[in-house]
Amino acid sequence: MCRIRKWGPAALLVAPSLLAIGVFVYGFLGWNLRVSVSDWRGLRATYDYAGLDNYRRLAEDTRFIDGVQNVVVFTLVFVFGTLVFGFLLALLLERGVRGEAFFRTVFLFPMAISFIATAIIWRWLLSNASGAQETGLNRLFDSLGVGFLANDWFKSDSYWAVASVAIAAGWALVGYIMALFLAGLRGVSDDLREAARVDGASEAKAFWHVVRPMLLPVVMSAIVILAHISLKTFDLIYAMDAKSRKIETPALYMWFITFEGLNFSIGAAIATLLMVGIAAVIVPYIWYSVRSERRP
């Protein structure tokens, strides 16, 4: 199936990109791995081999372990919450709604805003100041007579802190998931559902038996996308409360220990672990996507 006969020019066309990705993605990942087993501390790079020392240190580093716990909670809340709400929105919009374009626009626009701007708005909404300083949602709750809902948000002492950051992240991304589901739901042809209904199934049953299996791939995509975003998230937390340990994740710890603590090798080790975590989610996904595409 060789549509392009002369492959010389074709190779020339893709070579720069392949080379750039080869160096900037794979070359750098390897280089970072190399740094992570070095003893590089301070402003000048040193590459003396230190074995797995840095990883061993991380295994005992409570700040790192707390960060991992935070990011796990963040991911669970963010992925689950966004999925549920995204699906709900898609379901509400699915069967033709007057003004659908308007609703879609509203639910999707936060995607277009930077995480920095999102964080700046939400850090005020989620402020836990009290008394005369009280503001944000807590103030709104009080004035609506539901003051008992007021809480410490991202300054809470529990995992609620990092979970409330996930609210802001969910606000930003739920529209995306809604769009994915909407595309998925509409991919299920009405004929199929109709057929099921004609067979005597109720609307709900038709949905359950016909639509659900076809949505599974969408759910998988959504989970993978959300999970990898959540592991990477840096800007949102940095702009929300940069040095709060209550919401710090490894992505932020890497930044501080590297560029402030000048402990480059540890920073690289954190980054490598982050990469491994994301690869565990992403590689099977890409493999699955590419393979299923190849099958007719």
Partner: protein, 284 residues
């Protein structure tokens, strides 16, 4: 009843109630979604004298653009830098992506099945994992401090998604079209430039918009690769509005201003923006 042209079907007698409830729920959700926007806009438009965090929810007594005028001079350099950076980065990245997508869609060379996933993988890596080497290499190349290094990395890390967008698009273009051009004796590059690219304009729009939005909204690369004069708008914004030292209304006005270009792109070209989103999920 419907706008999407769903086939008529027998509704249960509960349907009118369901429809009403659905609208109520939808509007409630819209209100919930717009809470941050309300705060943002209302605060930014208030007379600075009327602003205090405790008055967050109150409507302005009178509209005033003073706050925008106050923060604009501070934000303007970052704004300019972001334009200078995001426009070339998104166009160049899209052109390279078009070439890659074309070749990958129409030319099943040996190893293509391996190359494509390898390119895709670049889309998902956490940038922390390439940060240290990236800075080392770009420092050697003397590309740190100004916008040039930032443009370069946005081009390169944009390649996976732009390649994907164009590949998905070219796969849907019939092979005959390409074949006939080749039969006419057009070379590979001419076929791409004069046959494939013109019909791929929608994909080009999707790709440029997507890239523009991600470059505009990027923070980490800007933070690491630029010095104060070349800060993109996100870094400038975080610096202006990051601390609570900055008056609340100025933070809000700055955040709003910094978001305007991507919001405009989204509102004016939402259709293409959506397709970029879909491409990001790998399932075109």
């Amino acid at each position: 009843m419907t706008t999407s042209g769903a086939p008529p079907r027998i509704r249960s007698r509960w349907w009118p109630y369901v429809a009403t409830v659905r609208y109520i729920v939808l509007f409630a959700l819209v209100c919930l979604f717009l809470i941050p926007v309300y705060v943002l806009v209302v605060t930014a438009m208030k007379d600075p004298a009327q602003v205090s965090p405790s008055q967050m929810w109150q409507l302005p007594d009178s509209l005033s653009l003073d706050t925008f005028a106050d923060v604009w001079p501070v934000l303007e350099p970052g704004f300019r830098n972001s334009v200078l950076m995001a426009v070339p980065a998104s166009i160049i990245s899209s052109l390279l992506g078009a070439a890659n997508g074309f070749v990958l869609a129409k030319w099943r060379f040996p190893g293509a099945d391996v190359v494509f996933p390898l390119i895709l993988f670049g889309m998902f890596i956490p940038y922390q994992a390439i940060l240290i080497p990236m800075r080392e290499l770009l420092t050697d190349w003397n590309l740190v401090g100004g916008l040039s290094g930032l443009i370069l990395v946005h081009i390169i890390y944009g390649l996976p998604i732009t390649t994907l967008i164009f590949r998905s698009y070219f796969v849907t273009i019939s092979d005959e079209l390409i074949d006939s051009a080749q039969v006419d004796g057009a070379g590979m590059i001419r076929t791409l430039a004069f046959v494939a690219l013109p019909i791929a304009l929608p994909a080009f729009a999707v790709s440029v918009i997507w890239q523009f939005t991600s470059a505009w909204n990027d923070f980490l690369f800007g933070l690491v690769l630029t010095s104060t004069n070349s800060w993109p708008v996100t870094v400038a914004l975080n610096n202006i509005a990051g601390g609570q030292v900055v008056p609340f209304h100025e933070a809000m006005a700055s955040a709003l201003l910094a978001s305007i270009p991507t919001l405009l792109v989204y509102i004016l070209m939402g259709r293409f923006f959506m397709r970029g989103l879909m491409a990001g999920a790998l399932k075109g």
